[in-house]
C-alpha cells in the first residue's frame, strides 16, 4: 500500500443532516485508512458542544449566543423541514427504523477511529465558546493548520 492518504472536511454548517453527512464521510475515510481531520468552524462548532450547561463567566453577547445555539450534536436542527424542532424528531425516528447511526454516535465512532476533530479558535471567540464547553480530546487550530493538511490532502470537502 502507498503512503497514507488524507481526508480533510470543513464542517461550517450547524445542521444535523449536514453534520451527519460530514461524519459519515469521515468514518468511511477512516475505514479507508486515511488520516482524517474535521475542522469545525462557525455553526459547525456546535457539533462539538457538550450537552449540559457549563458554568463559565461570559459577557452578555456570549451568553445570548450560548443560549440560542444548540448545545451539542443531538440538539441540532435540520437544514430542510425543521418545523421548529419537529423535523429532527421525525428523522431520528426514521433513522432508528433503518438502523442509521445517530449523529452523537457517529462522533463517538469518529473519535474511536482516531479522526482528528479540530475546533477553529477564531470562530470560538466570535461565538463565545470556551474549551470547557467542548468535547474532550479535540484539537484547537486556525486556517494555517487546515491549509497545512489540505495542501497535501486527497479529499477536501466544505460542508
Amino acid at each position: 500500500m502507498s503512503e497514507t492518504k488524507k481526508t480533510n472536511i470543513i464542517l461550517f454548517s450547524g445542521d444535523y443532516d449536514k453534520a451527519m453527512a460530514a461524519y459519515i464521510i469521515a468514518n468511511g475515510a477512516a475505514a479507508y485508512d486515511h488520516e482524517v481531520t474535521i475542522f469545525h468552524t462557525f455553526w459547525g462548532l456546535n457539533a462539538l458542544r457538550k450537552d449540559g450547561h457549563v458554568a463559565i463567566k461570559k459577557n452578555f453577547m456570549e451568553k445570548m449566543f450560548g443560549k440560542m445555539m444548540p448545545r451539542g450534536a443531538d440538539k441540532m436542527g435540520l437544514s430542510k423541514m425543521n418545523y421548529a424542532g419537529f423535523g429532527p424528531k421525525m428523522i431520528k425516528d426514521v433513522m432508528k427504523k433503518h438502523n442509521a447511526m445517530p449523529l452523537p454516535e457517529l462522533i463517538d465512532m469518529a473519535q474511536e477511529q482516531e479522526v482528528n476533530l479540530v475546533a477553529c479558535t477564531m470562530t470560538m471567540d466570535l461565538l463565545g465558546l470556551r474549551k470547557e464547553e467542548l468535547l474532550e480530546e479535540i484539537e484547537y487550530a486556525g486556517v494555517a493548520a487546515y491549509l497545512g493538511n489540505a495542501e497535501d490532502g486527497n479529499v477536501n470537502l466544505f460542508i
Binding site: 500500500m1 459519515i24 464521510i25 468514518n27 468511511g28 477512516a30 475505514a31 479507508y32 485508512d33 433503518h98 438502523n99 442509521a100 447511526m101 465512532m109 477511529q113
Partner: protein, 75 residues
Amino acid sequence: MNSTKVLDAKGLACPMPIVKTKKEMKELETGDILEIHATDKGAKSDLAAWAKSGGHELLKDEEEDDVLKFWLQKG
C-alpha cells in the same frame, strides 16, 4: 469457500458495514478470507471500491434471500 471469519453486518446502514469490515480485516493475516453478510444495498459498490483501494481481492459475491454475501481476501 473456506472463510477464515464471518462478519454479520446484516441490518447495518452506511457507513457501518465498511467500518466493521475494516476492523475485522485488520485482525486477519494476508491470504485470509473474510466472509461478509450485509443487507445494505450499497454494500457491493462500497466493498468493491474499498477492497481495490486497500489492495484486497473481492473473490466472490452472491445474493441470497435479500442478504448480500461477499468473500474478501486480504492482500
